[in-house]
């Protein structure tokens, strides 16, 4: 006899105005199963799970929990029914500590609980299991995005959820953190939790999925058991055709002309400081910056973009100094800049796609949006390509594409890209890399921050390693670089020790 499904979608649809985000979906989730949901950006993955979590009600169809029609009316209700979800963008309080955040979300927290209260120590049990390296007393604002993700997950585990939904958890994790998470997911599945794992990465699927559901344009087009289908079959089902990863950075110019120059940068932020960072990027060159998250790359990016002030040092682009000397000064960034977490750092969600594409014009006193917005939306495959749509309604990946469209859409002197492919599907990743390399080809100096060592090795001319706020090495990517070598530099381990 088949085991009974813990949750079941029956002909579920969800419309937003004319747009059908989820179209007649059927899916069953079982206890102890890890169900991976794959699909291109905007396929409806997040929306489908938000229906289960009660963020929106379905427009049609129904959701059963334990065979009964779900009575979940909102996230708080979902949590008390044992459904927990970790979103693509987070909901932690940055000014509070990790422990305080966990306490706030914990149903058993007595309101008088204080920082010293011993009785609440079990709130940290999951944190100790999942992420022993995170100090529960550090402020969330000082954590890397990956660490924040793990804290979010602990919040959900603390409510003893029977169904745990993870929306693209690995897109912000380092490969090592991701492997750790895979193991952890297998562990909680073994304890009987039903896990839903939305992802774009096939390694996630290989590492920990039992079932694979594939969504395409709002429909669930296929559900299979792992191993039943080959990876290329899965990609074809997702994208409509098999997408091959090809990457070829542009040839370096014969005579490199230095264009972007970081000169002895020192800067301080809570919990992080940059020490004497120097690096130069030539016109047409792609320099990768690799490092374990939380080693200063985010701060360095903000310094280069003129958002965070320096204590000393300069960033010079074509002879112009970009750094901000104090908190009161503001500078317009002349860079093409893709920050991490675009929803918070790069778009104005309350404005339209056209306005977001024209922020440079509007901020410098222009009244009308740029004339080429429609062409940009099409060129970068932003879906739906409706220029008057409000940016807040875009799916996570499409929002990322929107920012790329703005920053890569016209020629720039320099590009600063932080994790530019985060949350993107395979074909969108192709587009972004093509556009980024085209910028280099046209003479831009490209500084590319990434954790994906394979991509960096495939696409960068040189790779700089950042560790504890310092650039510890700059390597020419002449074919001799390997993941292990870079990994050793990133973590500070001696390669010889590693081999021995």
């Amino acid at each position: 006899m088949m085991p009974k499904a813990i949750a079941c979608f029956e002909n579920v649809s969800r419309r937003f105005g004319d747009l059908v985000a989820v179209n007649d979906a059927n899916l069953e989730l079982f206890q102890g199963d890890v169900t991976a949901i794959l699909g291109e950006n905007g396929a409806g993955k997040s929306t489908l799970m938000k229906l289960l979590y009660g963020v929106y009600p379905p427009s049609n169809g129904r959701i059963l929990i334990d065979g009964e029609p779900s009575a979940i009316t909102g996230p708080a209700d979902a949590m008390s029914n044992g459904v927990g979800m970790v979103f693509q963008n987070f909901s932690l309080f940055p000014a509070l500590t990790v422990r305080e955040n966990l306490l706030l979300a914990w149903p058993k927290t007595p309101f008088w609980a204080s920082e010293r209260n011993k009785g609440t120590s079990e709130v940290l049990a999951n944190l100790t299991r999942l992420a022993p390296h995170i100090n529960p007393h550090s402020k969330v604002a000082n954590l890397s995005v990956g660490e924040q993700q793990l804290v979010e997950l602990c919040k959900v585990l603390n409510i003893s959820a029977r169904i745990v939904i993870l929306d693209e958890p690995t897109s912000v994790l380092t490969p090592a953190e991701a492997r750790h998470l895979h193991g952890f997911i297998r562990q909680i599945a073994g304890e009987g939790v039903s896990v839903v794992f939305i992802t774009h990465k096939l390694v996630d699927v290989e590492a920990c999925a039992d079932k694979i559901a594939i969504m395409r344009q709002g429909k669930i087009v296929d559900v299979s058991i792992r191993g039943q289908r080959s990876m290329s079959e899965i990609v074809t089902l997702m994208m409509g055709s098999d997408v091959k990863r090809t990457m070829s950075p542009p040839a370096l110019p014969k005579k490199p002309v230095e264009r972007l120059f970081l000169n002895k940068i020192c800067a301080d932020a809570p919990g992080m400081s940059l020490k004497n960072i120097s690096l130069s990027v030539a016109s047409g060159e792609v320099v990768g910056l690799a490092g374990v998250a939380g080693n200063g790359q985010a701060l360095l990016a903000e310094v280069i973009a003129g958002i965070h002030p320096v204590t000393s040092g300069d960033v010079v682009l074509d002879g112009q100094n970009l750094v901000r000397r104090n908190q009161m000064e503001t500078l317009a960034t002349p860079l093409g800049y893709i920050p991490e977490q675009p929803r918070e750092n790069a778009v104005v969600e309350s404005m339209t796609l056209a306005q977001n594409l024209s922020l440079r014009t509007l901020a410098s006193g222009g009244i009308d949006v740029n004339s080429d917005v429609q062409a940009l939306l099409t060129r970068f495959h932003v879906n739906p390509p409706e220029k008057d749509r409000q940016a807040s309604t875009l799916s996570g990946g499409n929002l990322q594409k929107l920012v790329s469209a703005r920053e890569f859409g016209s020629p720039r002197a320099a590009i600063l890209a932080c994790y530019p492919t985060m949350g993107l599907d395979l074909s969108a990743i192709q587009t972004i890399y093509l556009e980024m390399f085209a910028q280099a080809e046209a003479g831009a100096a490209v500084l590319w921050i990434s954790e994906d060592l394979d991509d960096l090795i495939a696409g960068a001319h040189r790779i700089a390693i950042i560790r504890e706020g310092q650039v510890v090495a700059v390597k020419i990517n002449d074919g001799s670089l390997t993941r292990d070598k870079l990994g050793a530099l990133m973590t500070g381990m001696n390669l010889d020790e590693l081999v021995a």
């Binding site: 937003f16 503001t330 317009a332 790069a346 309350s350 922020l359 440079r360 410098s364």
Partner: protein, 344 residues
């Protein structure tokens, strides 16, 4: 689009109905015949030329104070300082009159209004700069500064500015004719109303068209992104706080000049706070503030009259206002929660 209109019609009619029912309950509690009382309210608000003039006289300061809160509100600031700015404008405007009582109207009125606007602006500038440079919460500072100006007015009219001829009465000399804002004959509808309406229309364009509108929208939506593209949040905070203050300052001198004829301790019966609520109800949209201020002005004027003629307690005016605001805030949320399909 149709959907949006149907929703707002539903919200407005439900709000009116709920307010009506609460008023019925309120008058029954007072032991007065409810329908007769509501009928009287309507008559005293709009019944004849005199009532309308009273309503518009109350509308004027409420309208100006609402605009004063809306201007910084568009940037996401919560300024409750209109009351204090109103008093500040009253002081600096009066200062001109006292310093040069002999000026002809053609010079007096512009000088008086400008000075009032500057006084109010200064009183917005101070919390503005505290917020922009030192990150001090503008809601707290504007709230506290309110008390300060009210006391300043007292200090002046009990002290150096007191009219020696007025015996014990704390007030300045009566304003000379040249310093009285022109009004419609035999009514209390004065130039201040015209200024308020003109400002509402001008602000509508300021906030929806043009370069500043876009910059404010960007900064209000995501400050970090605005700063990335070279906008200075602090500068805009200071500018809009001062601009709002200037508008409230005009409200202050208009009350002093056109309604009271002299500076005395009670210029405002909480117009600043009422204006703040009107602005928030109207989501800081000047063209919506216009009718809402008129509605609230009518309620204030009529409940004043009701208190006089129907012997309801003096607090009724405030209670009715409070009921209106509570209903207007609660009903839309309630309707939203009743309809699960409602989108944000």
């Amino acid at each position: 689009m149709m959907q949006v209109n149907r929703d707002s019609i539903l919200v407005v009619s439900a709000t009116i109905l709920a307010f009506f029912l609460l008023m019925v309950g309120f008058f029954m509690l007072l032991g007065k015949p409810p329908f007769e009382m509501i009928g009287m309210l309507l008559t005293y608000a709009l019944g004849d030329g005199y009532s309308i003039s009273q309503t518009l006289a109350k509308t004027t300061p409420i309208l100006l104070c609402a605009l004063a809160a809306a201007v910084p509100g568009r940037l996401g600031l919560i300024s409750v300082g209109a009351e204090g700015q109103l008093y500040a404008g009253a002081i600096t405007g009066t200062a001109v009159v006292l310093a040069a009582p002999g000026l002809p109207a053609a010079l007096m009125l512009p000088a008086m209004l400008t000075s009032a606007a500057l006084g109010g602006a200064f009183y917005g500038y101070v919390p503005g700069i505290l917020r922009a440079r030192l990150h001090i919460n503008e809601t707290i500072t504007t709230l506290l500064l309110n008390y300060v100006t009210v006391l300043w007015v007292n200090a002046l009219v009990f002290g150096p500015w007191k009219d020696p001829a007025s015996q014990g009465w704390p007030a300045t000399i009566s304003f000379p004719q040249a310093a009285i804002l022109p009004a419609l004959p035999a009514s209390r509808i004065h130039l201040g109303l015209l200024i308020g309406i003109a400002l509402a229309i001008a602000l509508h364009f300021f906030f929806t068209r043009g370069a500043s509108a876009q910059k404010i929208r960007i900064l209000a939506g995501n400050r970090k992104v605005g700063e990335m593209f070279g906008l200075n949040f602090g500068t805009w905070v200071i500018m809009l706080m001062a601009m709002g203050g200037a508008i409230a300052g005009i409200a202050g001198i208009a009350e002093v000049s056109a309604i009271q004829g002299r500076l005395q301790p009670t210029i405002s019966i909480g117009y600043g706070l009422t204006g703040f609520l009107v602005s928030w109800l109207s989501r800081h949209q000047p063209l919506i503030i216009l009718p809402v201020a008129f509605l609230v002005g009518g309620l204030v004027a009529a409940s004043d009259a009701l208190q006089l003629f129907a012997k309801v307690p003096a607090a009724s005016a405030i209670i009715l206002q409070g009921l209106l605001f509570a209903v207007a805030l609660a009903v839309p949320g309630f309707i939203k929660s009743m309809r699960p399909g409602y989108e944000r």
